[in-house]
């Protein structure tokens, strides 16, 4: 795992000086997770592809600004995609479900690949335990916001609770997560 993290760091450092081969490898190593993030938020393949493209173009141009203070490479890149998707989401009408005939390949569960190994399984475990301590409705509101980019309003409708309640659920849940992770 350590090794995979340093591979990504090496690839981003090379990308920063304009090495297109390194950037191509970086794309191969990371695009299936970043695309999964985009699809979950934007639902439609076409929109997710566009956001993914925009994000990688931004990663290409901003790679020299990356440093470890900005977090792990995967986190930095994934955040660029998420913010891009959140911006895009506000432009499109909400879509109910993902495309019926998706033009992408869903990778098998049994195939972890270098990318999943690069993610820190320990971090995920700790976070899931903390989220598990939240009450069910609060947990759902945080997860729906994170994975699908739902607004306070949409959460309030979807969970059939007043807007003010959703807002305080989210705020308190985030505070609890922070406290729990220490």
């Amino acid at each position: 795992m350590e090794n995979n993290v340093s591979i990504l760091e090496d690839l981003i450092a090379r990308t920063a000086i304009g090495d297109q081969a390194a950037f191509s490898q970086l794309y191969q190593q990371t695009s299936s997770l970043l695309f999964a993030i985009a699809l979950k938020i934007l639902k439609k393949t076409e929109h997710a592809e566009e956001a993914l493209q925009e994000a990688y173009v931004k990663i290409w141009h901003n790679a020299s600004e990356y440093n470890s203070e900005k977090g792990a490479v995967m986190t930095w890149m994934g955040s660029i995609v998420r913010y891009r998707c959140l911006d895009a989401l506000r432009k499109f009408k909400p879509v109910e479900s993902i495309d019926e005939h998706p033009e992408y390949i869903i990778l098998e569960d049994g195939d972890p690949g270098p990318l999943e190994q690069a993610l820190n399984a320990g971090d995920a475990q700790a976070l899931l335990e903390c989220i598990g301590e939240l009450k069910e409705q609060q947990r759902r509101s945080v997860l729906m916001a994170f994975y699908e980019g739902l607004t306070h309003d949409q959460l309030s409708q979807s969970l059939s609770v007043p807007l003010g309640t959703v807002k305080s659920w989210i705020r308190r849940s985030l505070e609890k997560i922070k406290e729990c992770l220490g």
């Binding site: 450092a13 090379r14 000086i17 304009g18 090495d19 297109q20 191509s24 794309y27 695009s31 299936s32 997770l33 695309f35 999964a36 993030i37 699809l39 979950k40 997710a48 592809e49 993914l52 493209q53 141009h61 203070e69 977090g71 792990a72 995967m74 986190t75 930095w76 994934g78 998420r82 506000r90 998706p102 033009e103 992408y104 390949i105 869903i106 990778l107 990318l115 999943e116 993610l119 399984a121 971090d123 995920a124 700790a126 976070l127 899931l128 989220i131 945080v142 997860l143 916001a145 994170f146 994975y147 739902l150 607004t151 306070h152 989210i170 705020r171 985030l174 505070e175 997560i177 922070k178």
Partner: protein, 228 residues
């Protein structure tokens, strides 16, 4: 009081990362973040806290057109056919230079067996237009950079040559000539790095070279190092 302000700032950072900070508030937060290092740090901390959630996602491989479009966007000049032709032209040039080099080698017959074989690299721009040929001679520990067709770097600017060793930051080999040839004596340090280096890159720098020891300007030329 101060704690309350900090809590508020942290709530904002958290909701920005989660995505529930929206509309104008989100835009305002983004401009605040540009000026405010503490806020940027809070955001990065929240990204690190929440990002592991993505591990629950089912990976999905995007269609190959996505990568094609990205390549088009970052490298609009590289039309594939044209690029290939220029590439071959560059190698034609390199081959004739290699002939020259090998005739020089024939004069210096006794090569120690433990030295590395000589190498050649053609440094080209994104349209595969060759600008320099760089050759290394490990018998004499000399590197020669020959300018082919170099575009004007602009006032007070220069081209700097970098080794790209695997898993390490780039290391400078000095400035490149705008015309003619320039030799560089390779130190032990250079040689140690060159052994681990598969490619060169050229960046645009201030006339005295990069002030930081790392490339500061755009990388305009690249070339793989080939063993002759």
């Amino acid at each position: 009081m101060a704690n309350e302000v900090n809590d508020n700032r942290d709530d904002m950072a958290a909701e920005y990362v989660l995505g529930t900070l929206q509309g104008n508030a989100r835009l305002q937060f983004e401009s605040l973040m540009r000026e405010d290092a503490d806020m940027r740090k809070r955001v990065h901390d929240w990204e690190a806290r929440l990002f592991p959630l993505t591990e629950g996602l089912t990976l999905a491989k995007p269609h190959k057109r996505v990568w094609e479009n990205i390549q088009q966007r970052i490298n609009p000049k590289a039309a594939p056919t044209k690029g290939r032709l220029n590439w071959w032209r560059a190698w034609g040039l390199a081959a004739s230079l290699m002939l020259l080099v090998s005739s020089v080698y024939m004069v210096q017959l006794e090569q120690p067996l433990d030295t590395l074989p000589p190498t050649v690299a053609v440094l080209s721009d994104t349209t595969s237009q060759a600008a320099w040929v760089v050759q290394t001679d490990y018998n004499k520990n000399v590197m020669v950079a020959q300018a082919l067709k170099v575009s004007d770097p602009g006032k007070n600017k220069a081209y700097e040559l970098w080794m790209l060793p695997a898993n390490e930051p780039p290391k400078s080999l000095g400035l490149l000539p705008l015309e003619g040839a320039k030799s560089v004596n390779l130190t032990e340090q250079h040689l140690a790095v060159l052994k681990r280096t598969g490619a060169f890159a050229v960046s645009l720098e201030p006339s005295g070279g990069s002030p930081t020891g790392l490339p500061t300007g755009p990388v305009l030329y690249q070339g793989k190092i080939l063993t002759i």
